[in-house]
Each structure stands twice: as structure tokens, then as C-alpha cells.
Amino acid sequence: MPKTRVGVFVCHCGNNIGGVVRVPDVVEYARTLPNVTYAEDNLYTCSEEGLSSIKDQIAKQGLNRVVVASCTPRTHEPLFKRACEEAGLNKYLFEFVNIREHCSWVHMHDPAMATEKAKELVRMGVAKACHLEPQQEFESDVFPAALVIGGGVAGMSAALGLANQGIQVHLVEKEQELGGLIRGVQTLFPTEQDTDELLRPLAERVKAHAHISVSLGSEVENVSGFIGDFDVSVRADGEVEGLRVGTIIVATGAEELKPVDLYRYGELPNVVTQLEFEEKFKSGGEIPRSVAIINCVGARIPKRTYCGRFCCATAIKNAIWIKERDPQARVYVLHRDVMAYGVEIEEFYRRAMELGVRFLRYDVESPPEVLGEDRAKAVKVQHQLMGKEVILPVDMVVLTTPLVARDDNGKLSKMLKVPLGSDGFFLEAHLKLRPIEFSTDGVYVCGAARYPSNIPESVSQAYAAAAKASIPIREGLVRVEAITAFCDERTCSACGNCVEACPFGAIELQQGRFGRTAHVNTAQCKGCGCCVAACPSGAMQQRGFSDMQVLSMIGALAEEMTGGVG
């Protein structure tokens, strides 16, 4: 084995680290650590300059381990790993030490302590680095087909986005027809196009597409496997069919909140939700003469804090719809904030006002009140501008409620091993930059399953999901990060703890060269390490998080207590 030669690169991150931690002291200290043959500081180790310095020093100093002490591995690890790789060093010989988020930023008023802590963190990182080993990433093939769950506009668009690339798509829809929630909607914002005019040809294209197989009245019952190779059981009419796909898009949508206990919904016949309003008039019907639309019903309240995003636009759309059919009709929109963001909704809002729709702002502390015995006859509201209570005679009240997450999201989330947010919607990998991906590879989300969104937004998300879901299929190959578990078969006693502990069913007891031992299916291993901790003998280990590596960090941390051996 060649001698371990560790290079330590300590980042100033401009002032972010250097303004608190005495970086030169940390570099000096690093030089005193065992196996450290080189240490330097960088203004920004992540800059091209810093990265080239890492590469240069790997060559110049013959470094075979690299430690960067800077920010967080969660954002910057790939960058430094790649720099190592480019310099010919196996990227798993890189170790990250976080001295910004975990040090300089949280001990801003204690530079001395922060510096000491940074030194210790570097010591721990170096200790671990000495025990890193080069790793090969596991590669597996991607089955060239995708599954789209949900046949609403988002699901159909995602399916088309994939199929038009030549990718085989299975589209699974719970209902007996395609279209989803908006089937009941009359016209669509912002074009005011008739919903059926959009849905019919879209559904036809989906059904007729050579690369799409549609299963109606079907539900996904079980999913196993991993990116590139998912086994999916779909139940339709009591029959279970197995599908094999490489990637999965969740487009299961959401449902309209039925505001039970609010504004006498369910009690009075002429108090309806927006969707009920649309369904009612989709098949014709006498347009009411005076309508109060109440916004933010069941939304932006302590129990349900989020905003339904497009419900204001829905309210405006339906207000205009009434006004255009009966200019004499009185239409009141009782609102909190009018969420007419962007170009078109704002324009729409303005048009509604021009058409004579009356917008009245109410305060959440004193919400409107629906009056009437057997029918809603009037709405009482505190008029904020006029500063007094007004009573609006109405013959219909329309409640604008947000979309809420489907109850069965939980089931699907467990099957797919993807998380839900506290509001029950699917939770993406990162709100800002990975909005339609999950942390679980190969599974993506679009449309209202993720969060309420209007048609253009849902379709954009659907295409975005199609792009992401197509990448592994187009590439034909996925690489598994080498943080997987592996079993030392010579010392495994096959007690089976690991088999029980693995959340992914990736471990089996198998007969092998050393008798019966545990065996890890690397493609299925997600690198959690549950099995490793459950193994009493230490035969099961995790690449990059081995007992040796973790223990060396503990040892390095305890060094002052233990007299500084090593």
C-alpha cells in the first residue's frame, strides 16, 4: 500500500469562514496532523482557482487523499469530488469538513472557539480520510419504459412528453376516463377555452399514441425496485398486472376541499364550491342574478396555512363568466388578498372589475356571514373601505376552496418511498432547484400532487417531469453512488439482522463460498446503513461510512481525553 498522503484545503469562503475562523491557524494545525503532507488555504476553494489548486497539488504532492474544509457537502461535494477525479484521484478518496454552516456561521462572536472547533473538525476529517478507500460506482441498466400515475392534464402531458421522445409509457388512471379533476370545469383560465375542447383531443392523442398504453379504472398496488428497474403491480377489475419500468412520474392530482362547517356549506342548498358551481352550469341552468363568491375558504387559516394559488383566478373567471352572460347580474367577490400574479391573471382581474364585478376585501378576523333560513339569502360582510357592515342580498354563494392533498397520497408515498409535506402534498427534493424531483432517484412529481397549480403550470411541470424521467432512459444506464453496504462473507454469521433491518429488501441470506452469509443487492441498496448498525459482528459495512471510518472520527475527537494517540 502506498503511504497515505493527505492534502487539506481550507476555504475562507471570502469572509464567510475567514471572517470568524482563523483560517491560517487551521492550515498550520492541519500540517501537524498525521499523514497530512500538504495544507493550504483558498479564498474560495470552490472557485475554478481553488479547484485547479486541488488538482495541481494532487499531482505535485502525490496526494492520495483530499480533505476540503469549507461549506456543506450537501451542495459542494460533487464539485470537489469531480476535481479529484479530474486529477486522476478516485473521488471516494475525498472527505468534506463543514466549517462554515457548522462553525463560522454559528459561532460568529467567538472566533477563538470557532477556530479551535474548526481544527478539531479538520482533525476528524483527516482521521476519516486516512481510512477512505477507492470505490467503483455500481452501474445498472435502465428498462426503457416509464410509468405515469394519474391521467389528468398533468399525467397526460407527461405521458405525451415521454412518448413523443419514443419512450414507451404506461399511463395508469384510477377513473374510467382520462381528464382528472378538470373534467367538471367549464372553461379554462387564462384562455377561457372550453375544457372539453382541450380535454377531448388531448385524451384522444394519448389513447391513440403508439407508445402509450393506458389503463383506466386501475390503481398502482405495489412498487418495488429502484431507478432503472421498477416492478409495478397495477390492479384493474380485480386483475393484477405486472409492469416493468425505468422511471415513474406521480401525477395523481388533488381534490377540491369540501368546506364542511364553513359558511353553512352542506346546510343550505345554494351554498356551493367553485367546482360544484362549474358542474352545475356546465350542463346549463339559470344563471343566478346575484352571487357572492367568498375566497380563501378553508385556506390561509391556522389549520391549513397554505394558499390555493389559483383559486383567486378561478373566482375571477367564474365572476366574469356570470357577468358576460348576464351583465345585470350582481357579482361580489369577497376576498383577502387577490392572488392575481403575473401578466394574465392581473389582466383578468382588471377585466372583471371593468365588467362590474365588485371586489370586497374582508378581514380574516371578521369573516363574512351567510344569512338565510333554508336558502342563502344574503351575505353580511364588514366592508373594509367603507368601514361598515354591509348586507349583500344574494341568491347563490360560491365558496372558493383550495385543493387539498388526496388521502391516498400516504399509500403511494410509502410505496414509492418518497415523502409528503405536512400539508399532505408530495414533497420535492428541493423547493427551489429540484421542484419536480424526489430525493429517491427515478421518481418525479408534477401537477397538483405536488402543490395546487393551474393548467399551464401543471403542464410545464409535466413536461419538466418528462424531461427528468427521460434522462435515465435515454442514457440507458444509472450509476449508484458507492455508499452502499457490503458484507464481509468470511466473517458473516448469517444471523439475519441485516435482512430484517433493510428497508429496501436488498439483503438476502445466500449460500456462497463461505457458507450461508448475507448478500447485498447493490442496485437496490440506498446506502442508509440500517443493516450495518444492526450487525453485531461488524461483518456488514457501508462504503464511505464504515465502522473504521466513523470510529476513527470519534477517536480523533476524543484525542485530548485519550492522550493523543494517532
Partner: protein
């Protein structure tokens, strides 16, 4: 009973049903029986059964893995639980064993016996089970000793798993009961009641004495690992010299490894040359596993070990 045992074993060997049989024979010290292996009909006469057969034989069944044939074994109710665990933990297959269940009426703790008699155990020439009492012959004299006074601790907590069907029984194998005040976890509870500093002091005193001879590990049926964690070179968990902190680490890690595995066979305490009350440590783990996770080692064949299992509504003080 002993005759019946010999008869059964003779038959098993004669029929070739087992390659050999694991039971007890008299040791050179008359106050104790020791494990023995009988592979030939001619040796069957060595086999004994009586109140001196407290030792857990289950660890020896693992030898069956090296055989094409089967191994016969004499199992007390308590030892059976260890065998259940070994099967569950994939260490032995049920059909490699011919299990002979023996009704046990309690086993003698020779340390207690020595204390009660007030003489060297070397002078004991026989011990006989006569119901509630043992008849102990010391030299010329025969003394009556009440069972409660000399039984192994584990006998007071006797349980018998229903999960296991013996191939042959020498009588009804049922839990042995004895009237005693001691609760199931008396020793543990006594320690639990102490202020934390005193508990610390108590255990420090115990661990300080440990010479890390590993006898407890060697005797333990559950320590079947091909390579013990503590014997690994990478990483090396323990330093060589028996330092208090390291001894403590050794015993605590062992205790964790025994969670859901320890069947309270008492071998560890029996073999400890320093008389460290290891049983209390493992009993504590047993108690917590039972209370927290409703799990008892060796009682059922198809339950999942407690630390690789969970319930969604497990206690959660960690919010």
C-alpha cells in the same frame, strides 16, 4: 428418568437417527454434571440427569452444522429458548436437531449450595432431588436443603416456550414453579431503585474487577459470531489492557448485542472468575426489551428481533 434417557439415546444411536448425542455426565466433582458427547451406544451409560445439570447445552448444537447427519440434544425448558433463538437466527436448522425434552424440577447453584452447607463442595458426594428438597450427602452425613435456598436464579423465573416441539419427551415439559417472593426482575429493580451515583459506583466497582478473560463471551450461546466485533483489527474497538472505561465498553456492547437474544441461561455468571453480576446487566436489557417492545427471546419462532423491528407507535420521548 435417567434410565429412560439412556434408553432413548441408545435407540437413536442404534437407528442412526443422530450422529451423536449431547447430554450431561458426572464430572470428577460429584456436585456437578458436565456436558458430554455420546456417539456410540457403549457410552450411553455415561449419561446422567438430575439437579446438577444446570449448564446450557444449546451452544453445542451448532456442531451439527458440520455434520451430514443430526445431533441429539437433551433440553431443559430454559435451554430450549436458546435453541429457538439459534434457529431464528439461522444458526441451525430445526431438522438438524433431535430434541429430547426433559421435565426439570430445578437445578442447583453450587455456589449457593456451598454457602448453605458451610463446607467445601469437594466434600459433597451426591445431590438428590426429592420434591421440595434436595438430599445432599456430605461425607457420611446427609443433609436436607430446601430448594428455594440453592436453586439457580434462573429457575425462579422458569418459562417454557410453546413454539418448540420436542422430538421426544421424557415426561411433560412444563415450566417449573417454585414459591418464592422474588419478582421476575428483583435484582434489576433493586439496582434501579438506587440513586444514579450509587449505581455508577456499583458498576464501576464491578467493571473494575473485570480481567477481560472473555469467559462470559465464550460461554454465551448467543456469541456465535464467526469473528467477534472485539476481535476485529479494523477497526479495533478495544485496547488490550483491561482499563475500567474499556471494560465498561466491553460489557455494555455485549449487553446491547444480547438484546432480544439473552435467554437468561446464567452461563456468563457461572463462568465469570471475578463473580461479576453480569446476569443483572443482561436481565436489565431483557426487562426493557419486554417492557418497551413486548419481546421475549426464545418464546416464539416467528417474531422479528426487537432491534431490527419497530412499531409505528413505539414510545417516542425524542420529539
Amino acid at each position: 428418568m435417567q434410565d429412560k434417557l439412556q434408553e432413548v439415546v441408545r435407540k437413536l444411536l442404534a437407528e442412526g437417527a443422530v450422529d451423536y448425542f449431547i447430554g450431561y455426565c458426572q464430572s470428577s466433582q460429584p456436585y456437578r454434571a458436565v456436558p458430554c458427547f455420546v456417539s456410540d451406544e457403549s457410552e450411553v451409560g455415561k449419561l446422567v440427569w438430575g439437579p446438577l445439570c444446570g449448564q446450557n447445552l444449546s451452544k453445542y448444537v451448532l456442531r451439527a452444522n458440520e455434520l451430514d447427519g443430526k445431533v441429539g440434544i437433551l433440553l431443559k425448558g430454559c435451554d430450549t429458548r436458546a435453541v429457538v433463538e439459534l434457529i431464528k437466527q439461522h444458526q441451525i436448522e430445526r431438522d438438524k436437531i433431535v430434541a429430547i425434552g426433559v421435565p426439570c424440577q430445578g437445578q442447583v447453584d453450587h455456589r449457593k449450595l456451598g454457602k448453605i452447607l458451610g463446607v467445601s463442595l469437594e466434600q459433597v458426594t451426591s445431590v438428590q432431588d426429592v420434591g421440595d428438597e434436595f438430599l445432599v450427602t456430605v461425607g457420611e452425613e446427609t443433609k436436607k436443603v430446601r430448594k428455594e435456598e440453592v436453586l439457580l436464579d434462573k429457575c425462579f423465573r422458569c418459562k417454557h416456550p410453546s413454539a418448540f416441539g420436542y422430538d421426544v419427551t421424557l415426561g411433560d415439559v412444563v415450566p417449573f414453579t417454585v414459591d418464592a417472593d422474588a419478582g421476575e426482575y428483583a435484582a434489576v429493580e433493586e439496582l434501579e431503585a438506587l440513586p444514579i451515583e450509587e449505581r455508577r459506583a456499583f458498576w464501576r466497582k464491578q467493571f473494575e474487577r473485570c480481567i477481560r478473560c472473555n469467559a462470559c463471551r465464550e460461554a454465551c450461546y448467543a456469541c456465535y459470531c464467526k469473528e467477534c466485533l472485539f476481535e476485529r483489527k479494523t477497526p479495533r474497538w478495544l485496547a488490550a489492557p483491561p482499563l475500567l472505561s474499556e471494560n465498561e465498553m466491553y460489557h455494555l456492547i455485549r449487553a446491547v448485542h444480547l438484546a432480544g437474544r439473552c435467554v437468561d441461561c446464567g452461563e456468563c455468571e457461572r463462568v465469570c472468575p471475578m463473580n461479576i453480576p453480569l446476569g443483572s446487566l443482561y436481565r436489565k436489557i431483557q426487562k426493557d426489551v419486554a417492557e418497551l417492545f413486548d419481546y421475549e427471546a426464545g418464546m416464539e419462532m416467528d417474531t422479528v428481533p426487537p432491534l431490527v423491528n419497530f412499531e409505528l407507535d413505539d414510545q417516542d420521548p425524542f420529539m
